[in-house]
Amino acid sequence: MFVILTLLMILMIAGAVVAIQSKNLLSAAVSMGVVGFGLTLVFLVLQAPDLAVVQIVVETLTLIILIAAILKTTMKESKVEKSAVVIYSGIATVVLLVILVFVLGGVFKQLPDFGHPDLRMSEYYIEQGLEKTGAANLVASVILDFRAYDTLGEATVLFTAVMGTFAVLRRKGRKE
């Protein structure tokens, strides 16, 4: 199980590197699809079937939107000349990433071991979930009964994002 997880993560990292470095925008979008479907397999290995169902459909819809936008506009990426600004920003980014690696390594030592989580907050949900709400799916009882405010906030954010998309992609504004 541990070996399968590591292999899937290495596949996702390889797909991400290809997506960022590729010169053709369409192949970058397809490589992003590899990362998304690899994430679905990771969710299945980590015993989370709810998340796998949502992720596979959302990944397909993201690919549809991205490829529609690329085909309407352009497919090539312009070339980068080697000037002083480019080299300076490259060195600065590498320094930032090295510092981040050290900081994250120090933080991950504080977390509990992988596979033995600290279930202080979820003990109540796991033991009392079936009696208090009557739902067999513990994730559904968490998002719709114990923490329903978060679901209300999520519905509001989705609504606002759709309104924003309509406002950006609108046809003619006022009448002249």
């Binding site: 079937p49 709810d50 169902v53 949502v54 459909v57 959302v58 397909t60 819809l61 549809i64 939107i65 529609a68 936008a69 309407k72 079936l130 709400t133 009557g134 739902a135 067999a136 799916n137 994730v139 559904a140 009882s141 998002i143 719709l144 009964d145 329903a148 405010y149 679901t151 209300l152 519905a155 509001t156 989705l158 609504f159 759709v162 998309t165 309509f166 992609l169 609108r170 046809r171 003619k172 504004g173």
Partner: protein, 144 residues
């Protein structure tokens, strides 16, 4: 927007009904099996988007669809809000699960959770269809 070839149109007609009913199954049994409102909502929107992309659609017909999608999205959120504010009017706190709990592992159990699942599925599916319709309706040179 032009449609695709005859084979794609026929196969999409067969598959879209199947996907739609699979989405409804995942929403209605969301409190017993993995799934729920969000997963079922995106699957239902996938059925409609398949029909739109495979058959192509012209401008006048899709304006009516856009109005209907906006109405359904607002209706979904309104239902969710009404279910939670009925509990407030009954004198208890917000989001109280007030219907009976029923026997566990039965379809009619778990109080208001199946109703909330249906409301959220209506909202999410209408929102995602609206986004894809808005991308189809974009024409060049509109926003000078």
């Amino acid at each position: 927007m032009k449609g695709m070839t005859e084979i794609v149109k026929t196969v999409s007609k067969l598959l879209a009904g199947l996907i739609f009913f699979y989405g409804i199954y995942i929403v209605v049994f969301g409190h017993l099996t993995p799934g729920g409102g969000f997963a079922g909502g995106v699957i239902i929107s996938g059925a409609f988007i398949l029909l739109i992309i495979a058959n192509g659609i012209d401008e006048e017909k899709i304006k009516g669809e856009k109005e209907r999608a906006s109405f359904l999205e607002s209706l979904g959120i309104f239902l969710f809000w009404i279910i939670s504010i009925i509990a407030l009017c009954m004198g208890a706190f917000f989001f109280l699960n007030f219907l009976g709990k029923g026997r566990p592992l039965n379809m009619f159990s778990a109080g208001t959770i199946p109703l909330c699942n249906i409301a959220i599925a209506i909202e999410v599916s209408a929102a995602l269809c609206s986004i894809v319709i808005a991308f189809i309706l974009v024409k060049k040179g509109d926003n000078k």
